[in-house]
Amino acid sequence: MTERGPFRHHGVQVGGALVALFVGAALLAPWLAPVDPHEVPTGLAAASLRPPGPPNALGTDALGRDLLSRVLYGGRVSLLVGVGVELVAALIGALVGLVAGYYGGWLDGLLMRVTDTVMAFPSLILAIGLIAVFERPGLDKVFLVLVLLGWTTIARVVRGEVLSLKTRDYVQAARALGVPDTIIVFRHLLPNCLAPLLVAATIGVGGNMVAEAGLSFLGLGTQAPTISWGAMLAEGQTFLASAPWVAVFPGLALMLAVLGINLLGDGLRDMLDPRLKR
């Protein structure tokens, strides 16, 4: 425990390795996948629900499609939703938090009431309710709904940081010198909020991935032919007794990816927040 630096932490090592594996597999899926994940082989009866073993390392699903290829491609959707949603949500959250924290007053009151109200809903329940508004579900709706619900944590974190930062001497000095608000906010406040923002956003990526998979599992998320781990699990449930591998591998992939992100997030927090160090 005398070692210093980012890799002092076992969690960060394991988490970083899992995340690298997940991102690498998702990005390189077209080259790694043994076959086209949508390909339904002819002679369906022979290939359907084949157990793991050559030529299908993870077996096949009910339509005889190669599970390994599908798990690899499923990671792309998961990564896209996880990171894509978080980027947009963090942007909105950071803006709301900066404005509310810096200007204070009625604007802060209003923005925080809105934040509280959105946070007052258990997120997946509201996500399901929002999906009902659309004629038919799909990846774009999942994206929109998760962004609408995802910005609140970041807004709270950033606002809290800004509240304490804006009383510091250097900010007071900048104000006294007549530096414009936008420069104070973006050059002096935002960079100092980045550490907690990064931690919250990392955890948020994992949350988005689980939410997407959950919605797709319920049939309210991505629709075929888009490949999603959640939708694969829904199919796996049907064949749980006869072909458990259909349910095991997509879920295992999701769990390991989320585990990696959580470990990385925990480690980042410990590293970036010295107060939490033992």
Partner: protein, 312 residues
């Protein structure tokens, strides 16, 4: 003690009003956006014009939106959530019928999570850095990271399909055996967070002087932890239990779907599939209110555990 508690309790109840108002407004806006004309949505394109006119009047649909909102709130405050399109009966009846199953599942999951989480956290904190500590905290992180629906499938595969000890799914007329797997599944995430918080909170507290003093008096480890450290260590744990309530509600639709559990969550999912919007809105509203009231209970639990908070 009761008079001491009255003021902070009243203050927290008043603070709930804007949040509840916001929730109702959000649900109303969703309703208005999604439905266009609720009367037509309710009765279909070929609905009897007279009936449509009657419903329009009842819900003030020909008046400005704010009048519609006030009318809807009026209905809501009388417990009238509208009628299910699909089942052709009041939404409140549908919800009342499904509520007990979800409540039972949530209580069982919480009981498992609190018991197992506290046990794991205490066991890990007794010997920090030991193999037991690593094992238990590793299990906690895995519990937190495992998506609830996949965990449900895997538990079902292991204990129902392979070992045959427990039923795969269903309510089983309330049999205890049917409750075990759904409750374990729903409680797992919560168990992990409680275990982690209990451990870190206990480790924080045992370093304090008064605990050292208790040790110096020659008290045994069990008495030190059980009598002196635990009570103070529990304060942050109560927060986590409260936050965990949200996880329980979020997990309910997924867990209930995996185990074909006839609760509110599965009803919500089915209603979205049928585009039965009054049921969707009713369920979202009920979940949100349960959640808000749950946070209130946690706040009140603080007041009881930590007398310092009463003064603020």
């Amino acid at each position: 003690m009761l008079t001491q508690l009255a003021r902070p309790v009243a203050r927290r109840l008043v603070a709930l009003i804007p949040v509840l108002f916001g929730i109702s407004l959000l649900v109303f806006v969703l309703n208005a956006v999604a439905l266009g004309d609720p009367a037509r949505a309710m009765l279909g394109q070929r609905g009897d014009p007279e009936l449509i006119a009657q419903i329009r009047k009842e819900y003030a649909l020909d008046r400005p939106l704010w009048v519609q909102y006030a009318t809807w709130m009026g209905h809501l405050l009388q417990g009238n959530l509208g009628r299910s399109y699909h089942q052709q009966r009041p939404v409140s009846d549908v919800i009342a019928e499904r509520f007990p199953a979800t409540f039972r599942l949530a209580v069982a999951a919480t009981a498992i999570a609190v018991a197992a989480g506290l046990g794991m956290g205490i066991a890990a904190a007794l010997r920090p850095g030991s193999a037991v500590d690593h094992l238990l905290m590793g299990a906690a992180v895995i519990g937190i990271s495992t998506p609830v629906f996949w965990l449900g499938l895997m538990l079902s595969l292991l204990f129902a399909v392979w070992l045959g000890w427990l039923p795969v799914s269903g309510y089983g007329d309330g049999a205890l055996a049917n409750l075990v797997l759904p409750a374990l599944t729903l409680g797992a995430l919560h168990t992990g967070t409680i275990a982690r918080m209990t451990r870190s909170s206990l480790l924080e507290v045992v370093r304090q002087d008064y605990v050292q003093a208790a040790r110096a008096k020659g008290l045994g480890e069990v008495a030190v932890i059980g009598k002196h450290a635990l009570k103070n260590a529990l304060i942050p744990v109560v927060t986590v239990i409260g936050i965990g309530l949200a996880d329980l509600l979020v997990g309910a639709p997924l867990t209930e779907t995996v185990f074909a559990w006839p609760g509110l969550g599965r009803m919500l999912v089915a209603a979205v599939g049928q585009r039965d919007l009054p049921v969707v809105m009713g369920a979202v509203l009920v979940f949100a209110v349960i959640y808000v009231l749950g946070s209130l209970l946690v706040d009140l639990a603080y007041l009881v555990i930590d007398p310092r908070i009463r003064r603020d």
